[in-house]
Subunit: 431 residues, 2 copies
């Protein structure tokens, strides 16, 4: 039971793939992720992340965290429970105003909120520290489980009652500084979507802005089964930009692209991966979050908020790249880079020992591997498992490949197959 | 606002220390951690972790995770919400049986549990994958926020309504294999407490075991304000072991130390940091979690569970080492290793530039630093802040130290002061 390898052996992993379709999954992402053993459904809209799924989630988290840290945002972890009074301060305790909030009865006639978003929690924290203009601007973010009281949960991990989010809040003296920071966050988000392999499919989508700005912005990823409809600006695409407007602000024949002023749009199905808002004083004013100007005048702090759906991105990436054989993970988020599969009858076979040797060689060079060290299942079902699990490279070591002193490397995306000497393996999978 | 340094500048950190005692904290750990800006109280028993506090929490998490990974336990992330049916299956939906569980009403007349522990969630997951004795044993763990419906929350982050825990569950064919694994986990826990700097203060404490074993075990850390009372075996201590029995199984004059059979005990106040149980079939039987023996017979899976309070450990470490001047973090969990404090009037002063130079030198060598780059507060209040925040080394760079081409290094624990050339700094703080 005690393993000193870091490489993951399939014989050791307690989860397994499943060949049958999952009857109740009801969505492409959940269907595939459950069958591949990445997630388990606890109930509608609530999933657990199993070892392979957690690795994907952590990889997405890491990319998001690095880009937040790069723009100087400070990570914290706000509470999931909150006092009813905070929500009453902003008027959002009332389910007619805000129906997403779970109201949790506690011992001693108390009642708590179970937070779907954290403006009501971070503003009282900021109020403890912000005194003057010298304390501004700053950005604070967290990566945390959120809860939403959904009547009907759907779309697997795309829209759940419980999900992992990154939420960043920024605090400023004035609108101009908020707008500067808003652009900095947009650059960070572009970097995140690029690193996740989603840049080509992600459209900066203009949505209604509320009282403090003309627009808010969504990051919509084009997906055949996406739950949203967006209108992609054709003129923007012709200029190499990915810009769309969302359904709620689109009027056929009247709407112009806010960037190009073009009026030609193409309707697409998409899934929202992130959204950013200028909040103005919407939350600072009710909590009395103010700062003193250099002249000693007290003014409301100006805020922005910037969400990104971390577990939702896992579902979006799963749907965006999957094919008929299963999942296809981009390298940056895959649970490991190489899926090593010996075709062997015993652990003493040269195919098995060579496979373990290749895995150690790659792991030592920092390339995470999964080794299918199982002897029992048929080669066919193990190859199908590799396709279903979707690691970027499948490396088959068999008596046939070894006869030529080679291993067979197949790229999961595209399917290109190379026969390769073991000394060239690292260069090939690191390329 | 955009920082390309990784080092933390106090002028950039949005939190601040506070000189005043926190009126409502009501506990040594919360008092200090709130004053030092490590945590913020959302409400009784519910805290947010601010940037410095989150670094401590992540360091504790990392140590726990590494020791779990080392024994081959597989990390996952179970859901926080659960269906009522799961709790009804084990009889724990009834508040008379189990009053810690929050019952959360949801849209559409649904009702969920908000999990304080995860036996009810992991057993149905395991049931999807366990078929035969070949699928056993395995251990699966998570580090996750838990919720408890406490009537009265107390002791700061030691006993809250919301807290971070590591919970490991193990699955076995028989009692003998469970006992083997239980000993492996005890070794891992010993390594965790040693790495956290708590080994000298932590007693393996025998508690009542329930139906499946004579004893369960707690890891009790001796603390003057601890909420528990334990009875330390004097004979065990004389043999170099730290063994205690808890109050519920202690009968004066009758109880013998389960390890040494000695009957001399010393009463101590302590705080429970971890507990481990043999569960037997208590949870596997009601869910029908069974495996086929080699002979094809179906048997209930035998389970163990192993908790450790991650946020609670942060409070315990805070209380265990603090002194009158503030927090004293062991190096392994401190938010950074060196607190660098230039005494300077401007950012062009040699003391300031030398301090930044030292910080860069240490950071490049992998020693995390916090630099107090603030020019406004008095030197006295900045030195007091350094003591309150409690990093292992305080490095003061002043015109006086620079006159000798030195910096002043003070160890927070013990208070030893060294004057040291900048080229010897790395060796000194890495020692």
């Amino acid at each position: 039971m005690i393993l000193f390898f870091h490489m993951l052996l399939l014989s050791h992993l307690f989860t397994k793939t499943s060949k049958e379709a999952v009857a109740d999954a009801g969505s492409v992402n959940a269907e595939l992720l459950v069958r591949a053993g990445f997630i388990a459904k606890t109930m509608a809209g609530v999933y657990s992340f199993l070892p392979l799924g957690l690795k994907v989630l952590r990889n997405i988290e890491r990319i998001v965290r690095e880009e937040m840290d790069r723009i100087g945002a400070q990570e914290l972890l706000l509470s999931a429970l909150s006092p009813r009074e905070y929500w009453e301060t902003t008027g959002r305790w009332d389910p007619k105003v805000f129906d997403a909030l779970f109201h949790v009865p506690g011992a001693g006639e108390q009642e708590y909120g179970l937070n779907p978003t954290h403006e009501e929690i971070i503003v009282p924290v900021a109020r403890q520290y912000v005194r003057s203009y010298r304390d501004l601007p700053f950005g604070a973010y967290q990566i945390q489980t959120k809860f939403r009281n959904e009547l009907r949960a759907k779309s697997g991990i795309l829209r759940g009652r419980e999900f992992l989010m990154k939420d960043l809040y920024s605090f400023h003296t004035d609108q101009e500084d908020l707008e500067r920071y808003y652009a900095v966050v947009q650059d960070a988000y572009a970097a995140i979507f690029r690193r996740l392999g989603l840049a080509e499919k992600t459209y900066l989508t203009y949505a209604s802005g509320g009282s403090f700005s003309k627009y808010s912005h969504e990051y919509q990823v084009i997906l055949p089964n996406g739950e949203d409809t967006v209108f992609v600006s054709v003129e923007a695409e012709e200029k190499g930009m990915r810009i769309a407007v969302n359904r709620e602000i689109y009027e056929p024949g009247k709407t112009a692209c806010p960037v190009t002023t073009g009026t030609t749009f193409r309707e697409e199905r998409a899934s929202e991966a992130a959204n950013i808002f200028m909040l103005g004083t919407k939350f600072s004013a009710p909590f009395g979050l103010q700062y003193a100007t250099p002249e000693g005048q007290m003014k409301d702090v100006i805020m922005g908020c910037y969400g990104i759906g971390v577990s939702r991105l896992m579902g979006i990436i799963a749907e965006a790249f999957a094919d008929d054989a299963g999942l296809v993970w981009p390298k940056a988020v895959a649970p490991a880079v190489a899926h090593i599969l010996p075709i062997a009858k015993s652990k003493e076979d040269p195919a098995f020992t060579t496979a373990m040797h290749c895995a150690k060689h790659l792991e030592d060079a920092g390339v995470p591997c999964i080794v299918d060290d199982r002897l029992d299942p048929s080669a066919g079902s193990r190859l199908a498992d590799a396709d279903l699990m979707g690691l970027p490279f499948r490396i088959v070591v068999s008596p046939k490949t070894l006869a030529d002193d080679k291993v067979e490397v197949k790229e999961r995306a595209g399917g290109a197959v190379t026969l390769c000497g073991t000394t060239k393996l690292l260069a090939l999978v690191s390329g």
